[in-house]
Symmetry: C2
Subunit: 385 residues, 2 copies
């Protein structure tokens, strides 16, 4: 019997029972006192995860929606922006900015590596007329399993007036981020990742410096208007109907996150990363990402060339009901991605690693059965000693 | 004991148990075969409700989002558009078009009355150079409880090339609409109304004539891009992560709607309207909307001036856990609105009408206790004879 699915994607991630049950609460008036309480509690809870006291808006939308919101609220047509791209989602952020009239200058890094803050520093230094209005960067690149050193990139910008806009959709609460301490201007995130709730909500956080830019920003907007949303938030409302059941889920998930503690959550994600990387190496496989920038949210694994990643994924899905993500674009069939963010148990990872060994052996890859699992067991033994 | 809330808003509307339970299903891969099946089934189901064989896109967004999608996909900056407004949501549609660069000419009608198709005809006739690119109109105006005769407005436009764009967010499946037969070009709707599911999904339907306009439309867009969404739909996917739990809800709700039958659903909404209007009149109150254009989705009732609508609403909420909507903008405290769309039972309406009588008597309004309920009972007796 295969039973329940093992969903190890870098989003959507599995739902805790508490979250699933919270969503079955009845509908309420989105302009009434019950919703007001939930909205304000969720907004405060999200601020804790962002480690910020700045503004947070919750949109009824996917993460991509909040990326668009970041662009139309803080970038005007004609603005020069510097895009720092290390994969598919860095490209997406740049593409949205371009679509809304920005002049995008792109620095791209090899897929599987992080951005070099020195290159950002050089570009910023060269901009003596302060023409660059914003720097766009991905915190955790879901397509490769690499995270960027956001703090170092912020430092590279120094006192240049460009806004630093961070796509933290898949990274927030899996990779540490200190919005206020690091002086990040705009940070976007989404619900279906480490927040452990279904897709359909996204978050836009921005400081007062960004708010001043917003007030003069000439891009057209209605649905994504952050200023209007702030006005309604003061009344405990949204400008238009919010996705109520997803707020129920968020409210419960934030409660769970506070019970576990943000530092423990971050440590858990790092532990999972280390455990999975040790295990796949013992299976004679290589992770795509370099160690220093390996994502705590997911691990991209280079499949044996003679097998291909997609055959392994298909076998795991058909035989064991395990869902892993494939590679995107030029990484299609080259890598498979093991998501270990959000509501994933140690034991889930153990069994998935064990099944992966079976798949690899079946397709003729050279490994010793149990070698990867052994690494993971040793890791867990230390942790639980 | 007041117990469960009686939520009689014109959205969000109460959830059927089947829908609430459907949402507790586990997360799945939004690019996998299970989601593909749900997405395609939902898209086909929505087409049946729209009575169309044209294109339908489902956005992870509120209804307002799909209004913005209609504007940025089919109206270019500088385009002249004719806005037909009979209340708050007519104003909103016009405002979004204006924000995205349209030159909006507005015909407004007194709140509580429908649009006069003859006035549309006159404007269209006067446009000898065919400068008007689109006509914007609300099918069911939630702020007043009035519906427009969309078929007559379509006929008023005749063979003028302007696209007819209909906001059917609160009306679809409560007020009849035949997208193909009536030759409507763009029709927007939302999930938290007659579709009986939570807010967070909205629908954009458009015909091939509109698609041709889309292809040349110069408004910037990414999240709302209908052409890109169509491409992904061919693969059974969305361009970005969809709101999966709301699709579970939609899938179940569409099943319920097909079981009841669209014609029966429409008749149910008309019956509720007639029953509520007869009852409030017997309470010596007047509905805001004229009979000929009274909405099957909700009834706006003019409160006795010396009491005010909000005192009645507060009493019903505090004493009986009944939630009615108030008036918006200039109708605040003037009217209250009884929503009777979506998953509302006859018996819910009976008890709400009975409680309303108690509230009115308490505040000194002249009526005979039971007079309104009696009208509703007589209505139900005939229906169940």
């Amino acid at each position: 019997m295969t039973g329940e699915q093992f969903l190890l994607l870098p989003g959507p991630t599995p739902l805790p029972d508490r979250v699933a049950r919270a969503m079955s609460q009845p509908m309420i008036n989105h302009r009434g006192p019950e919703f007001k309480q939930i909205l304000l509690a969720c907004t405060e809870g999200i601020k804790k995860v962002y480690r910020t006291k700045q503004n947070v808006i919750i949109f009824p939308a996917s993460g991509t929606g909040a990326l668009e919101a970041a662009v139309v609220n803080f970038i005007s047509p004609g603005d020069k922006v510097l895009s720092v791209s290390i994969g598919v989602f860095g490209e997406r952020f740049a593409q949205i900015a371009g679509e809304f009239g920005a002049q995008v200058e792109k620095i791209s890094f090899e897929w599987g590596t992080p951005a070099d803050p020195q290159m950002v520093k050089d570009k910023i230094k060269a901009d003596v007329n302060k023409e660059i209005k914003a720097v766009l960067v991905t915190q955790n690149e879901t397509s490769t399993g690499v995270f960027n050193d956001i703090k170092a990139i912020r430092e590279a910008i120094g006192d240049h007036p460009a806004l630093l806009m961070v796509d933290a959709v898949s990274g927030l609460a899996a990779v540490d981020l200190c919005m206020d301490e690091w002086k990040l201007d705009v940070v976007v995130s989404g619900s279906q990742k480490a927040f452990m709730i279904p897709p359909g909500l996204s978050f836009l956080a921005f400081n007062d410096r960004a708010l001043k830019v917003h007030e003069k920003c000439s891009n057209p907007r209605y649905y994504w208007d952050a200023g209007n949303a702030l006005k309604y938030l003061e009344k405990g409302q949204n400008p238009y109907t919010p996705a109520i059941t997803l707020y129920y889920a968020l409210h419960e998930a934030l409660q769970m996150m506070m019970e576990e503690g943000l530092d423990n959550i971050l440590q858990r994600h790092m532990d999972y990363r280390d455990m999975v990387r040790a295990a796949v190496r013992a299976m004679n496989l290589q992770p795509l990402a370099v160690d220093a920038a390996a994502s705590p949210a997911l691990t991209s694994v280079i499949a044996p060339e003679e097998i291909g990643a997609n055959k392994i994924r298909k076998y795991l899905q058909d035989e064991f009901n395990i869902v892993l993500a494939g590679g995107q674009q030029k990484l299609d069939n080259v890598i498979f991605r093991i998501g270990h963010l959000g509501y994933i148990r140690e034991l889930d990872l153990l069994s998935v690693l064990a099944a992966l060994e079976i798949a690899l052996l079946k397709f003729g890859h050279h490994l010793e059965l149990g070698a990867g699992v052994n690494q993971a067991q040793q890791f867990l033994m230390k942790k639980h000693s």
